[in-house]
Amino acid sequence: MSYIRPTFRHPALPQNEKGYAKADYEGAISTLCAGCGHDSISGAIVQACYEMSIEPHRIAKLSGIGCSSKTPTYFLSQSHGFNSVHGRMPSITTGANMANRDLLYLGVSGDGDSASIGLGQFGHVIRRNLNMTYIVMNNGCYGLTKGQDSATADVGSISKSGSANILPTIDLVGLALEMGATFVARSFSGDKTQLVPLIKAALSHKGFALIDVISPCVTFNNNKGSTKSYSFVREHISMTSALDFVPEEEEITVEYAEGTSKQISLHDGSSLLLSKLNPDWDPTNRRKAQERLQDSRETGEVLTGLFYIDPESEDLHEILQTTQTPLNQLKQVALCPGQAALDKINAGLK
């Protein structure tokens, strides 16, 4: 795999507004198992970023440790990436975001990385409403360490080893809703039509955006009896509402409008259109979202889609009232008070 790509692009290749070809958003060849859900999610990320015309160098990709956390190597090779340590991606991303509020931050994690060792950091990055997109590639197991049950495995779910998980599951969506996350969604690696617009919406959201993506582990947790297998999810999947993402440039066309029950405009001018099919679904109502989630637990659906969004959300920089200039661009003159100020301080210490 090589990271040095020619800046020259073949004119024939289709390009987005910023003049980038889709290839500019791809990464090194994946070393994951053939059929791993994670690879589809990488694909969705590439597509979302390409279609949104994000300049690759304006996005930073960060992850913890796990097969899922390896994926940043497999997309956006022109973006800086950070494959950190197990369960600590949220703190790294928090620091990165504090240093430069102008970039987009895409965090990738796994269910072990987020729900086990990383549960504390997961909770606290939500609490700080850090402006980032947080994708959990959720396969209900520890793929990279060969398939042990993770904390998101459902009770009774059978792993490849044949044993049934005995402990209750941690539902990251339920947790995020309870802890006040300002953007909460669930999706399925097998459903790009849903996943891509969700990723776009998450990247456009100002604040913490969680997408819990069920992403089957074909090697260790795709067997019969597993509730994270392709077949199980396909059989039980349902949706809060179909969703379209419209970037600010495009005006909303008629046929869009017709199919739409509700429009939510995001701070960057883009908007979300919700399908008429679920007319009374309102993703700006946290309580409704929690209730809908509870219902789905009782009916045994795998409920996906956008659960909640707060379009007014204030991110950590706004909460802390940090300057608009990225902190990493402040020059010494702005940072160092100099001897004069020091003399005052000295004087006060006599």
């Binding site: 040095i4 930073a60 800086h80 928090t94 504090m98 240093a99 430069n100 802390l320």
Partner: protein, 604 residues
């Protein structure tokens, strides 16, 4: 004794935690300082918030000795609970100042000391209304009495009081009143001043009174730190708190009123250092401060920063270990755990400040070093240095100093490169590669940071050769570090003795005092102060050129000595441990005893 002792005494205040005595006691030392006298107060406080005994020990020394000294000359015993031990702690001929509102229990009477009773509570109750006020002003009353006993300049104290209550002028009068109550009562009932007393001198020019933690926080301001992430822990808490306090004065955008900094109270130490790593990776200067338990929790991340080569500034304000240990006592016992923090082959740069002024300077240096070397730099302070006020040279900032951001490539640099960018290429042969920040260039300079093994182009690899090339380059970088960290300080221009002393950090005061003492007795020895790890040539030579070398440190296991023999292959036989680890700052007496080979009770 008829010959009065002037400007050489130790006063110990014994109070109850949380009764407002701290401010009265601080005024006392501040007043001494303003009388031009070297003074060194030490707060000996319990690990609780209210109700337990707490001590405030002040040494006044015309000779300028700022280390602790055993042998209390004057005890201000306000805490009935600890009074028996406190009275016992007085030296023969010493003076207990106590609240005579109640009669002293006969058990507390010693024939060899001079009792000075002041009816503090009585006076307070006679003159002031509210119980809380009486409680607080009682402290000022003993302060007044002390002024009389020691011949302190009452106006200096009044001035300090006025300054303290500048924002609450209503309180100035009653405080002055209380001060005079004590002052006059003492004058009326005792021959003042005592044979042991103070007298104005002019010995503190160019100095200030400051806590190490405040200086460290200020150093981070001057170094241009913009992100501080931390988790509270004694005794480091005031580092980031000072940073934030100063930042709110000095780092607010004048137009927008917005902050040119971000302080985040993290959920724990792992998150705190994670945030620092993320911020420095992204081009900001960032730091965190903690104490032993935090360093242990940070050790996985320190290994990542070492191996992925990400700058980190970590302030370790050491306290008594192991585990929760003695959280309100001082030690230098995290040397090994800091130098070698994390699994695998790792080594971290350490700085050893010995005064608040050095806390300020080394905090600033730490950021330059961390970015120049792209690795963690740990500032090794301790509770004594960090939380006590020290008389220290006024802070200076060289206006010509510019931040050394190290090897960072700009968009232009990337444009003009003929070679493809390799994050871990040793271009200059000093073991230090070039880095880029996210967002720098649309198509050049992006790379992938990871804690796994990688090649020169930051590409993942499991090749043993590539791994070895990488970790060998880190050794090269380490050797480069030796050239740029603060140099060891020799206390003599040329060697005068076969015996040497190596010391560092807060052992400095006591060591310098001990050296004077030896010199006066014609027993001069050579001495060297360590300022940084990796160790420099000066230090290596110093060891080579002396037959026996005492290594003075405040821990049980002679950790610095271990580091010396491990890193310099120094002959262990000639490195003699001189240890103090009871949680109290080391004294000159202890060092002299150690040098004389006297069996020090607690030495193992």
């Amino acid at each position: 004794m008829n010959q009065p002792i002037v400007n050489d005494l130790v006063v110990r205040f014994a109070n109850v935690n949380g009764t407002g005595s701290a401010s009265a006691n601080n005024i006392f030392s501040k007043a001494i300082f303003r009388m031009g006298l070297p003074v060194s107060p030490k707060n000996i406080f319990p690990s609780n918030i209210q109700g337990l005994p707490t001590w405030y020990e002040v040494r006044i020394s015309e000779a300028g000795y700022l280390g602790r000294r055993e042998g209390i000359d004057i005890l201000v015993g306000i805490n009935p609970q600890s009074l028996p031990k406190d009275i016992a702690s007085l030296r023969e001929g010493g003076y207990p100042v106590y609240d005579s509102s109640k009669k002293l229990h006969p058990d507390l009477l010693r024939s060899d000391i001079h009792y000075l009773g002041i009816p503090m509570m009585e006076l307070a109750m006679q003159h002031f209304e509210r119980p809380r006020t009486q409680q607080l002003l009682k402290n000022i009353i003993y302060l007044g009495a002390m002024a009389a006993f020691l011949d302190m300049e009452i106006d200096v104290i009044k001035e300090l009081i006025s300054e303290q209550f500048a924002k609450k002028p209503k309180l100035v009068l009653p405080n002055h009143q209380a001060l005079e109550l004590g002052y006059n009562y003492a004058k009326d009932h005792y021959t003042c001043p005592l044979p042991i007393r103070v007298a104005r001198r002019d010995l503190v020019k160019g100095h200030i009174m400051m806590e190490g933690n405040a200086a460290t926080g200020l150093g981070a301001i001057y170094a241009g730190a913009t992100v501080a992430a931390w988790y509270p822990i004694t005794p480091s808490t005031s580092v980031v708190q000072s940073f934030e306090k100063y930042a709110n004065q000095l780092r607010i955008d004048s137009e927008t009123g917005e902050k040119n900094f971000a302080v985040i109270q993290a959920e724990d130490e792992l998150a705190a250092i994670g945030m620092v790593i993320g911020a420095t990776w992204n081009g900001a200067r960032a730091f965190t401060a903690t104490s032993g338990p935090g360093v242990s929790l940070m050790s996985e991340f320190l290994g990542l920063a070492y191996y992925a080569e990400i700058p980190v500034v970590l302030v370790n304000v050491q306290r008594g270990g192991p585990s929760t240990g003695m959280p309100t006592r001082t030690q230098q016992a995290d040397i090994i755990s800091s130098a070698y923090a994390s699994h695998g082959d790792t080594r971290h740069v350490l700085l050893f400040p010995s005064t608040p002024t050095e806390c300020f300077e080394m905090a600033a240096d730490a950021f330059d070093l961390a970015e120049r070397l792209q690795t963690p730099v740990i500032v090794m302070s301790d509770l004594d240095l960090g939380m006590n006020f020290h008389m220290t040279p006024a802070l200076k900032w060289d206006e010509n100093r510019t931040y050394d951001r190290g090897k960072v490539l700009s968009a232009e640099d990337l444009e003009n490169m003929d070679q493809p960018f390799g994050r871990y290429l040793d271009v200059d042969g000093d073991g230090i590669p070039y880095r880029t920040f996210p967002g720098t260039h649309p198509s050049k300079g992006a790379f992938f940071t990871r804690g796994t093994s990688k090649d020169e182009y930051a590409r993942y690899t499991e090749s043993g050769e590539a791994y070895v090339r990488g970790v060998n380059r880190l050794i090269k970088k380490w050797n480069t570090a030796k050239e740029i960290v603060p140099r060891s300080e020799l206390l003599q221009s040329s060697n005068q003795s076969e015996t040497g002393i190596i010391f560092f950090g807060t052992s400095t005061y006591a060591t310098e005092e001990a050296l004077d003492h030896l010199r006066e007795n014609g027993e001069s020895v050579d001495a060297l102060r360590i300022k940084a790890f990796p160790f420099d040539q000066t230090l290596e030579d110093f060891i080579a050129h002396h037959k026996r070398i005492f290594v003075i440190e405040q821990n049980r296991d002679a950790q610095m000595r271990t580091l010396l023999i491990a890193e310099l292959d120094a002959d262990p036989q000639k490195l003699i441990p001189l240890l103090n680890y009871d949680g109290m700052p080391i004294t000159a007496a202890r060092i002299i005893a150690g040098l004389k080979g006297e069996k020090i009770p607690v030495k193992v």
